[in-house]
């Protein structure tokens, strides 16, 4: 007689893959037979079988029971009851994805008034893209793979069986390396499905019917997909993708490259949606048509995201895609706000047209900076190089204004393949990057694999804590031939340009000396056989392990240059995982302790006159730029899309101010205090209140919200407000007290906010009046926006604003403002009228 336990399903989304795999984990621990019965439908499922549990279609509040019978039923039942009580209900909770802003998505007024609904997602690459939904992934058998006619059934049986075993191990390895959150849960679910007995039985039974492994996989995929789709539950229907992933992986394991599906072909502007997308799959997409990416799962550090960033493809992660299967509607990926827009009525469309106009205005202005050298307003140079991951990016980087390649990550060459790339292949890649660079330097980082970036052919044991584990320079001695091959390719490539080799994760002098010995040996070998190379090829090191900071003097004796990997250095130094939202406040470049480390590195390395760069994410954010300049950095390296913006930002900075800022920051006690100094730091002090680009004429706006957005966007396009939405919000907060429409067809929206970098005045003249809630009830055609920095509210510009406000009370002045056609004349006269 079986033991029974009755319960009601507490999961609002039913028993989808995650709760099912959690139940399976517990059930698997016992020898007894454990059955889940859906009281609503009578369906029975083996609780050690994820697909069966999922297929039982248990929904919210369904009455259920567990039946347990077998040798250890007495201990199994209490364990299961405890699980159901304590953990089962929590299985539904999404772990917060890294980088997702806390709280609700705040929509700008135009979108709010349009009643737009966004599916929230984590912005992984900023920007906005519009296009048709195209689903990547999915499952199809390549046509050339036979499905029938097996002669050696035993062989076919064995290789499918083994591939499934390997896959389970592989998921286990990835699980060990996975960060917390969604990725871990998804991998757990994948692994549970892969070791599902019913899946294995279905696969092997097909072989018995003389199907090939490919045929068996296709059959199993069809079988389980049909069952999951039939469940009528959108969440279950989505789990098809898990089955498809597993089937794709199996095919790939058995047939290798022959099983690669033909690449997704894009023919219109497209938003590619995928559960996961490998770097290889990403690179195969036609970027001419690719407008955005929506990934259901991926960490912010995945290589696909790094690539998407390089190619400026707006990308969202962690988006709920329920209900979008088989849909090819037009959508907008808004990775600035952090959401996917799936309905585009005219008003929403209008907002995104305006956003597009803003972004292209912004990039037009930035393009002018791209080709200029990076200089501060007082003439201090900063070299800005690019980080790349594939050789093809080099050309893009130089077009974007890079002065060199400051970090060529070579991992991409080694990923997604059955064996390491050979010397010839690597040599070609490095040579190609050098060719694009001409005389400019190319810093190539030797392989940083292992740890969180496992390679199948290295069979590295998965450590408890991969970040602190066996990776990068630490694995070189064991895989000496792998390292030597890369060095040989680099030494040979050095004949073609200014190539510099950089070793990651250095912590000891022994590591440095070992690497230098190998490099010297390979150089000697080339010299002996008359192979062209640069005998003086510089060798440098990444500073990312804190220990290296305290060995800098000695490292300077051994190495030619350094680059700070600020992401890892900050993680290791603060002992905080950047993907763990609970310690995210520690992973903050504004921590005074971290700023002190940076300064120490700059001091030691510059005293020894060795080149120093910083190539982590900290360098790519305009916010930190004054601190880096103030700390004395002469070189940084960033993803190419950030270069022009940084050059523009730099042009508004003064080195002296930056130094004073850094001195304050360096002495601050808390990151909050540093942020305070940064917020009040004056940028572009010399900029005049108004310039011709802050005047727009004949502007079309249907509503007040549209007009305010457009006038604020003028500030953004001209580089005065990096976050236009913050300015817009401040303007609206002021409008909320009472309308700034003061009659006579004029409005004077205004606010005080440090979201502008410089006090500004902008003028918008509308083609037709809009309702503004004005004092005289009349529509508004002339809009004068005043924005003052909060920290500068008592400054000299206030007198100008006061004078302007007074003049606006006089009809002739208003008439002149409304009629003067030439923006240059308008600005000049306005300045003259207000400043004298």
């Amino acid at each position: 007689m079986a033991l029974e336990h009755h319960f009601v399903c507490p999961l609002p989304n039913g028993t989808h893959a995650r709760p099912a795999s959690a139940l399976e984990e517990v059930a698997r621990g016992f020898r007894s037979e454990i059955t889940l019965v859906n009281g609503r439908t009578g369906q029975r499922a083996n609780a050690k079988n994820v697909l069966a549990i999922v297929g039982a279609d248990v929904r919210f509040k369904d009455p259920c029971r567990l039946e347990v019978s077998g040798p250890d039923e007495g201990s199994a039942l209490p364990a299961l009851i405890a699980f159901l009580r304590e953990r089962f209900a929590q299985c539904d909770h999404e772990a917060p994805a890294p980088g997702r802003p806390a709280g609700e998505l705040v929509l700008p007024p135009m979108l709010r008034q349009a009643g737009a609904a966004l599916r929230p997602g984590t912005p992984l690459v900023p920007g906005i893209g519009r296009g048709r939904l195209v689903r990547a992934g999915g499952f199809r058998l390549p046509e050339h793979l036979p499905v029938n006619g097996v002669t050696d059934v035993a062989f076919e049986h064995q290789r499918l069986d083994r591939a499934l075993d390997e896959l389970i191990v592989w998921y286990g390895q990835r699980l060990a390396a996975a960060g917390p959150g969604v990725e871990r849960e998804v991998l757990t679910a994948h692994r549970a499905m892969a070791r599902d007995l019913e899946l294995r039985e279905t696969l092997l039974a097909a072989i018995g019917r003389r199907r090939t492994a490919a045929g068996a996989i296709a059959e199993a995929e069809a079988h389980f997909s049909a069952r999951l789709t039939a469940s009528n539950n959108p969440l279950l229907a989505e789990r098809r993708l898990d089955v498809q992933d597993i089937c794709r992986e199996l095919l790939h394991r058995i047939y290798g490259a022959a099983a690669r599906l033909p690449d997704l072909v894009l023919t219109v502007e497209s938003i590619v949606v995928a559960e996961t997308l490998t770097p290889g799959q990403f690179l195969a997409l036609d970027r001419h048509w690719l407008r955005g990416l929506v990934l259901a799962q991926t960490g912010a550090t995945s290589h696909t995201v790094i690539l998407a960033r390089s190619f400026c493809i707006p990308t969202l992660g962690g988006v709920n895609l329920a209900g979008l299967e088989g849909d090819d509607r037009e959508v907008v990926v808004d990775a600035d706000l952090g959401g996917l827009v799936t309905a585009l009525p005219a008003t929403v469309r209008r907002y995104y047209d305006l956003e597009q106009a803003r972004l292209s205005g912004l990039s037009r202005r930035l393009r002018q900076f791209a080709t200029q050298p990076a200089v501060t307003a007082d003439g201090a140079r900063l070299e800005i190089a690019a980080n790349i991951g594939v050789a093809g990016e080099a050309e893009l980087a130089f077009a974007a204004g890079a002065e060199g390649i400051g970090l060529f990550r070579t991992e991409m060459l080694f990923l997604e393949r059955a064996e390491a790339p050979g010397e010839e292949e690597q040599y070609e890649v490095y040579r190609q990057a050098l060719q694009a660079a001409g005389h400019r330097p190319v810093v190539v980082r030797t392989l940083d694999a292992g740890g969180d970036k496992p390679l199948p052919y290295l069979s590295l044991p998965a450590g408890e804590n991969p970040f602190l584990g066996y990776r990068a320079v630490r694995i070189y001695p064991e895989f000496e031939e792998l390292f030597r091959t890369q060095i040989r390719a680099l030494v040979r490539a050095s004949a073609h340009g200014n190539l510099q080799v950089m070793v990651p994760m250095l912590a000891t002098l022994e590591e440095v000396r070992w690497c230098k010995r190998i490099i010297a040996e390979e150089q000697a070998r080339c010299a002996a056989s008359g192979v062209a190379h640069d005998p003086a090829m510089p060798v440098g090191g990444m500073i990312e392990v804190p220990a290296a900071v305290f060995l800098l003097e000695e490292l300077c004796n051994e190495l030619d240059f350094f680059s700070i990997g600020s992401n890892d250095l900050l993680q290791y130094f603060m002992a905080a995982d950047r993907l763990n939202p609970r310690v995210a406040s520690l992973y903050d470049p504004l921590q005074p302790a971290f700023l002190r480390v940076l300064q120490q590195i700059v001091e030691v390395v510059s005293a020894r006159q060795k080149p120093l760069s910083l190539c982590g994410e900290m360098a790519a954010h305009r916010r930190y730029l004054p601190l880096l300049v103030g700390a004395g950095f002469k070189k940084i390296s960033v993803a190419s899309p950030a270069i022009a913006g940084l050059k523009a930002e730099l042009a508004g900075l003064r080195q002296g101010d930056c130094r004073r800022l850094f001195a304050l920051a360096h002495e601050s006690e808390t990151a909050g205090a540093v942020a305070g100094h940064l917020a009040t730091f004056p940028v572009q002090q010399a900029a005049p209140l108004i310039r011709p680009e802050l005047v727009a004429d004949g502007v079309v706006a249907a509503t007040k919200a549209e007009a305010i957005k457009q006038v604020v966007d003028l500030l953004n396009i001209s580089g005065r407000a990096a976050d236009p939405r913050a300015v817009e919000a401040a303007v609206w907060a002021r409008e909320a007290t009472y309308s700034t429409g003061f009659g006579h067809g004029c409005a004077i929206p205004h606010c005080r906010t440090d979201a502008v970098q410089v006090n500004s005045l902008a003028v918008l003249r509308l083609a037709e009046g809009v309702e503004w809630g004005s004092l005289d009830g009349q529509p508004v055609r002339l809009i004068i926006l005043l924005v003052v920095r909060e920290s500068d509210a008592a400054g000299a510009h206030m007198k100008v604003f006061a004078r302007l406000a007074r003049k606006l009370m006089h009809e002739p002045f208003r008439a002149w403002l409304a009629q003067e056609k030439d923006p240059d004349v308008l600005c000049a006269l306005l300045r003259e009228a207000l400043e004298t």
Binding site: Y738, T740, F742, R752, V788, A794, F801, A805, L808
Partner: protein
């Protein structure tokens, strides 16, 4: 008539000064003498002394917020209006003043 006035709006960037200008313009037009103190983002400007206030017939407080040194106006007849009223129809304020003055004479 000798009039003193104070203007003060929430952000102190625009309406404080627009209202001051309106009051000055209208007083001139109607033949009154007026001195307007502004309390804006730059603090108090064109400050009214106690003697000036005591010497005036009436005070106009066109303010949306609590003003600084309000005690100066404790002994003077006054009319308090929102800043917007000074923008919309300043003459109406002056008419209102005349009404008050007539009543009190």
């Amino acid at each position: 008539m000798k009039i003193v006035a104070v203007t003060a709006c929430p952000t102190g960037i625009a309406h404080t000064y627009m209202a001051a200008e309106q009051l000055e313009k209208t007083a001139k037009k109607l033949g009154h003498h007026i001195k307007v103190e502004t309390q804006g983002a730059m603090g108090i400007e064109n400050e009214l002394s106690q003697a000036e206030i005591d010497g005036a017939t009436v005070a106009i407080l066109a303010v949306d917020i609590a003003i600084e040194q309000a005690e100066r106006f404790a002994r003077i007849r006054q009319i308090k209006v929102p800043v917007q009223a000074a923008l919309r129809d300043p003459e109406a304020i002056f008419h209102q003043i005349q009404g008050i003055m007539l009543k009190n004479v």
